[in-house]
Symmetry: D3
Subunit: 131 residues, 6 copies
């Protein structure tokens, strides 16, 4: 197996093209991102992942911008370079302002800090949080 190559629309199977078409229609894009072009090497995972993302990111009790902020918070915590770039763009498209980005980063940073303080001090869970 050599390095994985992206699959462009013109080279995709019918199954891949159907997913790409749905991504483009749903997100009003001219072309899909590299993420989907690479996943297209496995049409089954491409289709399952897209359908899951589509369901999870649809407007619901949380609005789409909040969902994008959460996606970015996780990606930053995990240090996934591709995901940080793509979800920063997605959040911006969903309306994230520079000030909202700044506050998001501040919260993510602080949570990562206090997570470790709680670990290190071995803080037991307060009974009030268990009821």
């Amino acid at each position: 197996m050599s390095t994985i190559k992206p699959i462009e629309y013109r080279d995709g199977s019918a199954k891949v093209r159907a997913v790409f078409d749905d991504i483009k229609r749903t997100r009003q894009l001219e072309d899909v991102n590299n993420f989907w072009k690479y996943l297209a090497n496995d049409p089954t995972t491409l289709k399952r992942t897209w359908e899951s993302v589509k369901q999870v990111m649809a407007p619901g009790a949380l609005d789409p911008l909040v969902k994008e902020l959460i996606y970015l918070a996780v990606s930053v915590t995990n240090g996934c370079g591709y995901c940080i770039a793509s979800h920063s763009a997605a959040a911006a498209k969903a309306g994230m302002t520079p000030q909202q980005f700044a506050e998001l980063m501040a919260v993510v940073g602080m949570a990562n800090e206090t997570n470790r303080l709680a670990n290190g001090y071995r803080v037991p869970i307060d009974p009030a949080f268990e009821s």
Copy 2:
């Protein structure tokens, strides 16, 4: 050094009491959580951490509930048991509904999945995300 013990208000120094008082006033609590009682073993870190959290979590371009959801998303990603318990409670107090919690978890789970798919497929960043 034996196992760290929590410091109760009555046993705290003036510096510790001042922080505890501010936490209780700001959050309208009768007592502070275990997290702060353990941090009180280091009054300097207690004071700095509280003042940072207070600044970061104050209403701003993002509302307090959204900030709590982000805090919880990070804590779940990191697997910090204490933090998941305490920030689930904090988010609920800030108004998180069961449906919002469910959607938060769905987004956090999906982001953790696609972060690894992007890593594993070694997806290069789209030029459009760099401009």
Copy 3:
């Protein structure tokens, strides 16, 4: 200390050369990977790490391809760019097919997702798993 430089065979000490020779012989390579050339800055760690990897990755109750898949699963989860590249190559050399890679990624992605769902829902361990 300036940036660490790789140590080539011709510049290595007798201890370094002995390890490089064993790596090349064991893995039937013309030259060792960058990983070993950088570790060669610390011959003690080079030797210990190689001997550990050699022992751990030898055929046993698990065959070498399965061990490479597991190595890759960990590297993808941790987001180690070098390790993903080198162990993708190693797995391919050990016989991993594109379909096996695709299934590996699907499992790794799903495990990272459900790990966080279990964390976030604070699921207690079933008694049946403890016996």
Copy 4:
């Protein structure tokens, strides 16, 4: 929102019961694990997660035991207590021997170690891994 409670079969909606029935049938179990009972608080995520897991863990180019080993490798790397317990049990049920478990742990440990050595020494990717 108080602490999340598991949902038993008798208390589940038709949608929840249908998923539980499919899990029990597919895995030949008398009852579903706590993981599914907690996820049942969000029937949409329950259904999507189960269908995804079912697809991903089905026999394919990798056999079910190998898939369980990979799942466990990820769970151990992430330190998810529930997942380690449940997937240790699942792997044992799929035929994992104590010797295979021991080798799995040895590989997971070594991969976590060398991932950090590669990070710390800032090892550049070998050109051979990019072709």
Copy 5:
């Protein structure tokens, strides 16, 4: 929001310049690192983060070199590329020798390995560690 740009001293607000001046004075640098130039997009986080780092990294019960080694250990564990580069440089400036770096990496690698062995074998905490 387009990609974030660094803010140079000449373009900074009075608040940003004051922080940059304090960093340069404290660390005896001609210019601040990129980290601070990017954080300057959010002067409040810039100021808070610098003041926190300054307090935390000051000589105390641990000397500055030991603190830098710890910072680097965390950054390597998390796989933060920027942080590994900047804190390797900072540790070298604080006096870290190549041999100390080598031993640091060896400890970090081993800790990451045994952390996972402890997870995977589900080792219970010894009563002696709880007293």
Copy 6:
């Protein structure tokens, strides 16, 4: 495979007893910790891990206390409960004072925070760090 059980000295093979004896002699302990009793289920990994830990933690360019602090920093970052407990005890035995513990935690927390700020702001590495 049922849940893994610890192996006591009296039940160990000659190979296991030899490792236990060396641990007790080296660390001047009456009995080994649970970690080693669980690893004893795989005598090969037990022996390799102990010999690696013994080599890595021996006095060198870094003194034993500093090495223990680094071990604890990694364990806290990873959230390994067993490791935090055992290495807190080991660090205390090596002379860690409460004030040193407090400073260690402050550095670990801050590093985890700034790692994510660097990730999120996508800070490029300064050319000065590459020379």
